[in-house]
Amino acid sequence: MAATTTGVGARVQRLEDKRFITGRGRYTDDIERPGQLHAYFLRSPHAHARIQAIDTEAARAAPGVAAVYTGRDIKKFVPTSDDLTEEDIGGLICGWMIHSKDGSPMKGSAHPALARDTVRYVGDHVAVVVAETLRQAQDAAELIAVSYDLLEPVTDTATAQHEGQAEVHQGIARNTVFEWELGDRAATDQAFARAAHVTRLTFTNNRLVPNPMEPRAAIGEYDPGEEQFTLHTTSQNPHVARLILSAFVGLAPEHKLRVIAPDVGGGFGSKIFVYAEEVVCLWAARRLKRPVRWASERTEAFLCDAHGRDHVTTAELATDRDGTILGLRVKTVANLGAYLSTFASSVPTYLYATLLSGQYAIPAIHAEVDAVYTNTAPVDAYRGAGRPEATFVVERLVEVCARELGMDPVAFRRKNFVTSFPHQTPVIMTYDAGDYDAAMVKALEMADIAGLPERKRRSAAAGKLRGVGYSAYIEACGIAPSQAVGSLGAGVGLWESAEVRVNPTGNIEVLTGSHSHGQGHETTFAQLVCERLGVPIDTVKIVHGDTDKVQFGMGTYGSRSGAVGMSALSKALDKIVAKGRKVAGHVLEASEGDIEFKDGRFQVAGTDKALGFADMALQAYIAHKFNGSELEPGLKEGAFWDPTNFTFPAGVHICEIEIDPETGTSRIDRWTAVDDFGRVINPMIVEGQVHGGIAQGIGQALLEGARYDPSGQLVTASFMDYTMPRAGDLPDFALGLTVTDCPSNPLGMKGCGEAGAIAAPPAVVNALTDALGHEHVTMPATPEVIWRAVRHRSLPMAAE
């Protein structure tokens, strides 16, 4: 059957590609609705100000303008009426509760969709103009007069808690959202007390802007006859968006709100969250009884999409004399921006400190994280979300520690690797399976580390500095199980659902709660169906991204679609096969227990009596042979899957870089990645995910950095000011795999979406510092940073 060429493990060309390569993808902004109006948002030009007055009169009178709304207008509707109540609609909430060390809950309030009295970052939403054309809306927005009473802004992560800083939110002392800790302080202190050596590093994990190529967009619609809302939006998780818009914002009851995320042009975390524009478009559509659409400009995306990272950390690693790790101590200040975005609080806590053991057996760990408010855009999950920050801490520390001890960084790592599983870390996680040494050995060989001294010599002869950097990363993916995340503060469960509908003609629709925005689910999910049911791949259709079709789903983030979403599909397919056996038993007049299912055929064991899959499906629907038995006609099965643990992809990335000391430019000469993702459905797609992740990680290390000036202006708010990785900045990537099965799901899968972004930054910085011969380099290591770092080394030499 087709399964060998289209089943699990095959490099199947993507089924979704045809529409994208012919220009027939259907992204939110490609959709046109009859009678649509265009929304344009007036945004705050100030980082922190009180709104004294907003005069919208001239804008309301401008040509084509249907309405102008401010924060005072966005009230809840009277149920069963078009009138408004006096009650404001709900703000944008954060769905993960974190408690401080003293037991107090995190501090903050929901982000109003349109500012009511205070703006707290440049780009904060002040008013919206809704007009017949976008140009009319833009033109009218220029006629809105807002008088602001300027307040002192807070923009710097490291000093946000300092005495004398303004309060971003009145009454939230020291701008502190929470002061959280994880691990055993006493045990860690003891480990440090008896350490022979302590390595200490202080560094910034630079703030990033996710920048999926498709800017966010939304179209709100309301059907007064049905009292039905529809929202087309650029979401990674339309059901979660519906839940939040319904239960917390209070716009529409869940069963009267359809959220559709059609083709979505990348997400990287930034499209998990519910944003003000979605709320306002839906609300205005009901108010005006016409569709209201909005599409982000790129600068708006820079200003208002949730950013990533932005940590300032001091970290210490304690070892004994022979290089055995005794303990790890971390103190981080995490900037969460002006408001808590949808999952912001989970990122620098349970997605960060729980990974601080890395691939190493570390007996004692203590981490403290203070989260702070600043007058900057909200910060939330961006590809890797907490795990890149953790990996940077661990992999910089072990590298520098090895250098300080005069040990080979590879030998130091191998000496401290976790080698037996399951392994309980001191920071919650139980690693279920892995072979870290195997990945290291393979990576060393692929990277030709044996030939490195010769390559270094040749670079030196050419006046260049060559360095190699390692990153042995681990991540926790398939974010789950529900019981565990619930105990850690999550407001939702993190399972996934799937439904398999087999039609009478034998073709199949799979409805999944996962959402594809570049990951190729329409192919990989179909491959699993092919493999399990033995049907041709072109008879399988994957349906996702529409709350009216898929009953519920938690969406795609945290590299969870394979491990969690496909596990749900696997469970549903098991039920289809079980039902198929029953159907075949009736048709073939054999006992269900005697029916074998293999290669797409139901066969009576030991006979040549058999029923093909499509014939079985037809029989399930005509039900002529069921003879009044309890067997129900039809063939549709669903499943919800809640895993038993996180999954733990891990691997080794090796970066080899060459620096020109005269200009400070750097060139990555070779990149080697050996990853253990467990079982792989489609190696071609997995490689693509790794490539993209590495590119974003290299971007963080060398190119990208969001910068606010002291007045709170984002000075990197376009592609002219914020350096996105371009083709010429990146090398070819050499990829390899090792495989240990994941025991926590039926498919043995771990997840691959974030690995590159997690692994890459410390590999680059370790390579740069190896080349430079000292540790004084910051991210992004632009040519200027490297040029200065080269001179940093030469200065003391000159003084000698």
Binding site: Q13, R14, E16, D17, K18, R19, F20, I21, T22, G23, R24, G25, R26, Y27, D29, D30, E32, R135, N211, P212, M213, E214, P215, D263, V264, G265, G266, F268, E297, R298, T299, H517, G518, Q519, G520, M684, I685, E687, G688, Q689, H691, G692, G693, I694, A695, Q696, S718, F719, M720, M724, P725, R726, A727, G728, L730, D732, F733, G756
Partner: protein, 168 residues
């Protein structure tokens, strides 16, 4: 309003437009050819690349009225009916796309690259030539492979369709 007439994907189109309408807006909003995308405000990303008289241009950087009488080719007009252009086929075969948003611009840029530089494109050349096209998904690795393969497949006799060269 200003009158404009041009040929798009072989068809004559005409109408009145607001003089400040960009070509990309005319293609997307008026002609409803939504395969050409907008991903920035500063002509950096290349998602909007189309061909004007056979040469790649960023359609966000030219007004519709400047295209009076011009011959425009968009991603929707690249395939020969149901038969994919060799560059389109190469992007699929080499997994040169993920979310697909930058893809139309990448493909239109790649076809122009072959027109200017020929069928044997080395990786370094392709990477330098992609200066004006951003992708956030692929890390470019497979885009480079796709373009190299597509360029070879476009060579006369390679089985792909002969290169369409603009009248010069």
């Amino acid at each position: 309003m200003a009158a404009v007439a041009m040929t798009v994907n072989g068809k004559a189109v005409s109408g009145d437009v607001d003089p400040r309408t960009l070509l990309v807006q005319y293609l997307r909003d008026t002609l409803r050819l939504t395969g050409t995308h907008v991903a920035c405000d500063t002509s950096q990303c290349g998602a909007c690349v189309v061909h004007l008289g056979g040469e790649a241009i960023k359609s966000c950087t030219i007004l519709a009225v400047q295209c009076q009488g011009a011959d425009i080719l968009t991603i929707e007009g690249l395939a020969n009916g149901a038969e994919l252009h060799p560059m389109q086929a190469a992007f699929r075969e080499h997994h040169g796309l993920q979310c697909g948003f930058c893809t139309p611009g990448m493909i239109m840029t790649a076809v122009d690259m072959v027109r200017r530089l020929g069928h044997e494109l080395d990786d370094h050349t392709i990477r330098e030539e992609l200066e004006g096209n951003l992708c956030r998904c692929t890390g470019y690795h497979n885009i480079v492979k796709s373009i190299a393969a597509g360029a070879r497949a476009m060579a006369p006799g390679a089985g792909g369709e002969p290169l369409r060269v603009a009248a010069e």
